[in-house]
């Protein structure tokens, strides 16, 4: 295993894991996604041509792998057992944290959630998002608008306010 790969993992592992979690809403699934991300990177390192930052490249793989994971979950949903047992640690952890925004985000459909993640969390612009997801820029803008409208009622007035209005 190359030293370079270890460095890439150290530098961007946490970031990819967080992105994967925002998609999958499950830390175990996120770890699974991240494993696939670095496996893909390790198998074909030449695919990264340096057109963008390595971080953006890895995020792109993470987004695609997360989609793959969610698609598989959707395909095999009937084989899954209902989650009835929640670990005490998780409950305590949840209660101890203020996760207002995260909970609100998780209530949104994936197509709205992902544009918010990519736009606000990844800080990509609408053109970059459209290239990454394969949609038109207008679709991305529309989804962003709808996502924000959908997010608004899920957050308290105190927690959220729109600062500035304008174009994306």
């Amino acid at each position: 295993m190359g030293v370079e790969l270890q460095k890439v993992m150290t530098d961007y592992g946490e970031y990819c894991l967080r992105v994967a979690y925002l998609y999958t809403q499950d830390w175990l699934a996120a770890e699974e996604v991240v494993q696939d991300v670095f496996l893909a990177y390790a198998m074909k390192p030449d695919n990264f041509r340096g057109d963008s930052a390595l971080k953006t490249y890895l995020v792109k793989i993470t987004v695609h792998k997360s989609h793959d994971y969610l698609r598989k979950q959707k395909k095999w949903w009937h084989l899954k057992l209902p989650m009835t047992v929640v670990s005490a640690a998780t409950t305590v952890e949840k209660k101890s944290e203020q996760t207002m925004l995260l909970d609100a985000l998780n209530q949104l459909p994936l197509k709205y959630r992902e544009v918010l993640i990519l736009y606000y969390y990844e800080e990509l612009n609408t053109t970059e998002i459209s290239e990454m997801l394969g949609f038109s820029v207008n679709t991305v803008k529309t989804r962003l608008n709808r996502a924000r409208k959908a997010l608004k009622p899920l957050l308290n007035e105190e927690d959220l306010e729109v600062l500035l209005h304008g174009e994306f």
């Binding site: 295993m1 790969l5 270890q6 993992m9 150290t10 592992g13 946490e14 990819c16 894991l17 967080r18 979690y21 925002l22 830390w27 770890e31 991240v34 494993q35 670095f38 496996l39 390790a42 198998m43 989609h67 698609r71 952890e93 944290e97 203020q98 996760t99 207002m100 925004l101 995260l102 985000l105 918010l116 606000y120 969390y121 800080e123 459209s130 290239e131 394969g134 949609f135 038109s136 820029v137 679709t139 924000r148 997010l151 957050l155 105190e158 927690d159 959220l160 306010e161 729109v162 600062l163 500035l164 209005h165 304008g166 174009e167 994306f168």
Partner: protein
């Protein structure tokens, strides 16, 4: 200007989300697990051969179809039926200037029509009944139509039809090398009208083609809407897809033009070249852009081309 969401206790969305996601989780232990996972992962084959074999199979199938149905020349067998015996059906095409006999007995040759229309068969029967044997065909007569007549008793006879401006026609029997002469009566249709597709039927066919072309985008749009598929911003999956697609269209077009001169009687096989760009498109969409489901449209086009070709063959036979 950017539109930004602000949360009361955090300066921006990213900061708050990072805080809510909690402490760092990608620790040394997780990194070790990922490393082990990568080390233990099986090395994938250099190329995914499934798709390559699928494509080779599809092309081989088309080639096999062409070979099986290829019937470029016709050899006249010994026959017992008289020229005016009851006709079951006939194969016909318009004669070319070089006088070659290029009728084939395949239903899958666009240049040859296998006619089973009862009215047309009766009209041809009348033309072949009212003939008398003559020595030769005058030089002023021009070669009109080539025919292979299938009789009720199973025999087939190759005939060449000639006409002139004086409303007479001559029939040359290739089997017996006999020439017959007849005159078009008022109620007779010319042999040319008999073998060509009914103009109203052809108009309906063109109308159907136009309707299909017009409906296709609407139907695919509906399908994608129902499947919840967003239209992709780019037409092609990748740059290579673009190059290969355009290349295959050019190849098909050049191949069509070349084959038209090399084997002009085999229209159907030449038209089969149309499939190539659509098969290539389907391959790239299915192999590399399956998530966008644009391959449905490619497959739909392949099916439509087949429907149009079959419709054309059916139309020539019965109208």
């Amino acid at each position: 200007m950017k539109k930004i969401w602000r949360c009361s206790y955090m300066e921006n969305f990213k900061q708050q989300l990072d805080d809510e996601l909690g402490a760092k989780r990608f620790d040394a232990a997780m990194q070790a697990r990922v490393t082990t996972y990568i080390e233990q992962a099986p090395t994938p084959p250099r190329k995914d051969l499934r798709y390559i074999f699928t494509m080779i199979g599809a092309i081989a199938l088309v080639a096999l179809f062409l070979l099986v149905s290829l019937n470029p020349s016709y050899t006249q067998p010994q026959i017992s039926a008289a020229i005016n015996d009851p006709i079951k059906s006939f194969y016909a095409n318009i004669a070319e200037d070089n006088g070659e006999f290029k009728v084939v007995t395949s239903d899958f040759d666009l240049n040859t029509s296998h006619i089973r229309n009862a009215k047309k068969i009766a009209e041809l029967q009348m033309l072949l009944t009212d003939v008398t044997a003559v020595k030769n065909i005058p030089k002023s007569a021009y070669h009109d139509v080539n025919l292979i007549v299938a009789y009720d008793n199973g025999d087939r006879r190759a005939l060449q039809f000639y006409s002139d401006d004086t409303m007479h026609y001559w029939v040359y029997d290739i089997a017996t090398k006999t020439t017959y002469k007849g005159a078009y009566e008022d109620e007779y249709k010319s042999i040319y009208d008999i073998v060509t597709i009914n103009s109203s039927a052809f108009f309906i066919f063109l109308l159907c083609m136009w309707a299909i072309g017009w409906l296709l985008p609407h139907v695919t749009k509906r399908i994608y809407k129902r499947l919840g598929v967003e239209k992709r911003s780019s037409k092609y999956v990748s740059e290579r897809h673009c190059i290969v697609s355009i290349g295959s269209f050019i190849f098909a077009f050049i191949g069509y033009a070349a084959a038209f001169f090399i084997a002009p009687h085999s229209y159907l096989y030449i038209l089969a070249l149309i499939y190539i760009p659509f098969i290539v498109d389907f391959y790239y969409e299915y192999r590399y852009g399956r998530a966008y489901r644009q391959y449905i449209e490619s497959a739909f086009k392949i099916v439509l081309i087949s429907v149009v070709l079959i419709g054309f063959i059916y139309g020539k036979t019965y109208f």
